[in-house]
Structures are given as structure tokens and as C-alpha cells.
Amino acid sequence: MRVATRLAPIELSDWQGHPVVLGSLWAERPVVLVFLRHFG
């Protein structure tokens, strides 16, 4: 299974608490997703 397929349905919230479905991020244009090690 593609990474995109696995990630697309996952819903996270943004820094203000709004929900974001990951798949929506790249629905119209490519997106760079940077995963941090940790905050700070």
C-alpha cells in the first residue's frame, strides 16, 4: 500500500485545534510534509 493511501485518511489537528485530514493537503498541489523529531 502506498504511503499516501495510508496517510490520507488520518485526521490531525493544527496548532489552533482545527481538524485537518491529511489527504486534503495534497488534493490539488504537491505538499512537502516535514515530520519533526520533537518540539523544542
Partner: protein, 445 residues
């Protein structure tokens, strides 16, 4: 788009602190991290590279605040495209391992190739394996240290070292201090004839005198040798080879702060840990084969687990020099080289093995990595405990059958904990060729 794994509260302040304009998502349950196949684990997170980056940043005035989120989680960078293909993927293997920004930008260009995702195992399985590894990792600390020795030594057979080495001849490099000294002392105590091969005649002579006095064994000699100096090795080997050699212990080691070269222009850790010992083994091969039961022991390091065999930039011309990394990479090379020698000497009387002493309180550790020493002093093994496996490999009947093993606390151990440290057959062959290329100009007969 940035994803972090702390809580929302910390995400907001992180965004402010770092003047981050990009949208920030939070994934405290690490669901997206897991699905993306990102890595996690103590060994990875606490890499030598991270420690050095931290030291450098600290010297540069940077101060890291409290860490929020999972401290063992590693990051990564992926480019997703509307058609569901992956334009770029960089999975951080250790902290401080970041992708090249140009590669990321190139993946955003229209028509850029997609990452091949066929035949990939489900990363969630790998995740499970790594999580288990993380749970087991504490046993590394409780294994390399003195607790480990206490536990492992419960299984030692005390009769293994109830041997008389009278008539045996043992050569030990770097034998005037630390593990080399303790190995020499123990072997002299078992009655062997000892030759200490030391850079300094004076320090060697002092060590020899202490060994003679402590053991009452007068047959302890010193030969001056800087094992990184191939001409010196080539000059001494024939003199050492006039009589059979029963034990050869490659113990001498260096951990330089800055890139240094041997007299032959080889980077110093490669010269000391690999090129010199290889030439010495070659020069003593026939003398070893004249012994009915010869042992060659390579004293490596547990640090080698962190690195893979790396022959791409032996000279450290393409990377900023990093002594700890150079040390670990050449310690890995020693383990591979011991296996290669064991293959070549199969069917002879010569058993070749490598070992690691665990974390011992030796002068090298004290001076080369003082912070590590200060933090871990109470846990460190004594040099004699570190030398136990060296002596066991050199002297015991039980070790006679071991060939090409990597031994720790008298037990053969796996040589890889991390899948990406595994070298290919070609790289192994390349290491042998490289060693032969170094040695050939100095070969006699």
C-alpha cells in the same frame, strides 16, 4: 507543512519561538509518523552524530529548551502529490540526519520521478520491530557496563582460564595501558612469554617492569612499534616472526580530535586500527601457522554497532572530520576484517576473532571522551573486566573452536543490531582489497 508529535499547546509556542510560518499539525499519538514509516528508538536517537551536533551547537551559544513530545521519535520529510505518488522521501535514521533541500525542491517540479513504492514491506511491521528493539535497548546499557559483566560472568566457567601458557608467545599492541595492559598482565600471570608492542619504549618498559613484578614472570619484553607506521610494521614483523607466534592481540587504538594522517598518508584511525594490524597479521602469518594453536584477537568496540562499513570516504575529504565517527567506522571495519582473515585461515591452526570489551574505565576513555567518562564513571567496568574476553579468546581451550566470531563476555554475539549497518559482499571484498593495497608496497617475500 510541518507535523510535530507534542501537544497543541507546545505546537503554538514552538511556532512562535522559531518564527515558523508554515502550518503546523500535531500528532501526539504518532499515527501519521507510524503510517509514514518513520523511525524511532534510543540507539537511533542517541547517535554519536547528535551528541557532536549538540556539543557544537552548545559551543556556538545555542541552548535547547525543554523537549516536548516523544524524545525517541525521529523525523522525516516526504513530498506527496495529487496523483497519490510520492515525490520524495527521507526517513531520518538518526537525530541530525536531514535531507538535502535541493532534492526536496526538485521533487516539487512538474514531471519529477516518483519514489518506487513497489515491493515495500508494511512499515508498521518494521515499526513494531523497532518498538520492541527500543524496549530491549536498556539491556545494552545493562550489558556493556559492569552490571552486565556481573550478570554475564555468572555463566563463566572458572576452569576456562585455569590454563598453563608456559611456552606460548603472545604479542600485544598498545599494551602499556588499559585493556592491552590488563590482557598482558593476565597472560603473563598464566605463564606466557609476552612481547609488549608500544609506541613509547619508556612507557612500555615501565609496564613490563610492573608486570614482571606482579606476576613473577620474567619473560616480558618490549618492542617499540607505532602500528600506524607501515614501514615500522614491515621492519619489525620479520624479527618477531623468527619464532612461532601463538597469540597476536590487535589492541592499539586512537580517537583523534582532528583529522590526522599516518606517516604513510593514511587517515590515522584507519592506519592504526586497520592498515597496520592487517600488515602485521600478514607479516606474522607464517609464524602464527607454526604454532599448533594460534589465536588472533581484534579488540573492537561496541560503538561499531552504530556504524556501517564505510569505504566511500576513507580519507574524510568529503565530510567534516569526526573522530568518534572515524573510530566507530574503523572498529566496524576491524570486525569485518577479522571475519575475512578467519575465512582465509580456515583449515589452519590460526583462529581469528574480534571482540568488544564493553564500557571500561581506561585511559583512552578518560581522555578521548571525558564527558562520557564523567557521566558513566560509576557504571564503567574495570580494565581487567574489559580485558577478560581478550584473555579468554587468547588462552582458553573453550575459545579454540571459535573462528570469525565477534565475542563479548565470552559469548559470540551478533554483529548487527541495525539493519542498515549490514555491508554487502562487494563491500567486504573491497575492504580486503583496500587492506592489501595498503600492505602490498611493504610486503617482504
Amino acid at each position: 507543512m510541518v507535523v510535530g508529535n507534542g501537544s497543541q499547546h507546545f505546537a503554538a509556542s514552538f511556532r512562535e519561538d522559531f518564527s515558523l510560518d508554515a502550518p503546523l499539525l500535531v500528532d501526539p499519538e504518532l499515527r501519521a509518523y507510524r503510517a509514514a514509516g518513520l523511525r524511532r528508538g534510543r540507539v537511533e536517537a542517541l547517535s554519536p552524530r547528535l551528541a557532536l551536533n549538540a556539543v557544537r551547537a552548545f559551543r556556538g551559544g545555542a541552548r535547547q529548551g525543554a523537549v516536548h513530545g516523544d524524545p525517541w521519535q525521529l523525523g522525516g520529510t516526504l513530498v506527496f502529490r495529487p496523483d497519490g505518488t510520492l515525490g520524495f522521501r527521507h526517513i531520518s535514521r538518526e537525530a541530525g540526519d536531514h535531507p538535502d533541500i535541493d532534492d526536496v525542491l526538485a521533487a516539487l517540479e512538474p514531471g519529477a520521478p516518483a519514489v518506487d513504492e513497489s515491493e515495500e514491506p508494511d512499515p508498521r511491521l518494521a515499526w513494531l520491530g523497532r518498538t520492541l528493539g527500543t524496549l530491549l535497548d536498556p539491556t545494552v546499557v545493562l550489558s556493556f557496563d559492569r552490571t552486565g559483566f556481573a550478570i554475564h560472568s555468572l555463566g563463566f566457567d572458572p576452569d576456562d582460564l585455569e590454563v598453563d601458557l608456559g611456552g606460548k608467545r603472545c604479542l600485544i599492541t598498545g599494551a602499556n595501558s588499559g585493556i592491552g595492559y590488563e590482557s598482558a598482565l593476565a597472560l603473563a600471570d598464566l605463564g606466557a612469554e609476552i612481547v609488549l608492542l608500544c609506541r613509547s619504549s619508556e612507557r612500555g618498559e615501565e609496564a613490563a617492569e610492573r608486570i614482571r613484578q606482579q606476576t613473577g614472570n620474567p619473560r616480558v619484553a618490549v618492542e617499540r612499534l607505532d602500528v600506524s607506521d607501515l614501514s615500522a610494521v614491515a621492519a619489525l614483523a620479520p624479527r618477531l616472526a623468527t619464532r612461532p607466534v601463538d597469540v597476536l592481540i590487535h589492541n592499539a587504538g586512537v580517537l583523534p580530535d582532528e583529522r590526522q594522517e599516518s606517516p604513510d598518508g593514511i587517515e590515522l584511525t584507519w592506519a592504526t586500527h586497520v592498515a597496520g594490524p592487517h600488515l602485521l597479521t600478514r607479516g606474522l602469518r607464517s609464524a602464527l601457522e607454526k604454532s599448533p594453536d594460534a589465536r588472533v584477537v581484534w579488540v573492537s568496540s561496541g560503538g561499531m554497532y552504530a556504524r556501517r562499513l564505510n569505504l566511500a570516504d576513507l580519507d574524510w575529504r568529503e565530510r567534516d572530520y569526526d573522530g568518534v565517527m572515524a573510530y566507530a567506522e574503523t572498529k566496524r571495519a576491524q570486525v569485518v576484517l577479522a571475519e575475512l582473515w578467519a575465512e582465509r585461515l580456515a583449515g589452519t591452526s590460526v583462529a581469528v576473532n574480534s571482540m568488544h570489551p564493553g564500557w571500561a574505565d581506561t585511559p583512552s576513555v578518560r581522555t578521548s571522551i571525558p564527558t562520557f567518562h564523567r557521566l558513566t564513571r560509576s557504571l564503567l567496568r574495570t580494565p581487567a573486566q574489559g580485558a577478560d574476553t581478550v584473555v579468554w579468546l587468547a588462552a582458553s581451550e573453550a575459545a579454540r573452536a571459535l573462528r570469525g566470531c565477534f565475542v563479548f563476555d565470552r559469548e559470540p554475539r551478533r554483529t548487527h543490531w541495525l539493519p542498515w549497518t549490514e555491508e554487502s559482499t562487494q563491500e567486504r571484498a573491497q575492504l580486503w582489497r583496500q587492506c592489501e593495497d595498503w600492505a602490498d608496497p611493504f610486503a617482504s617475500g
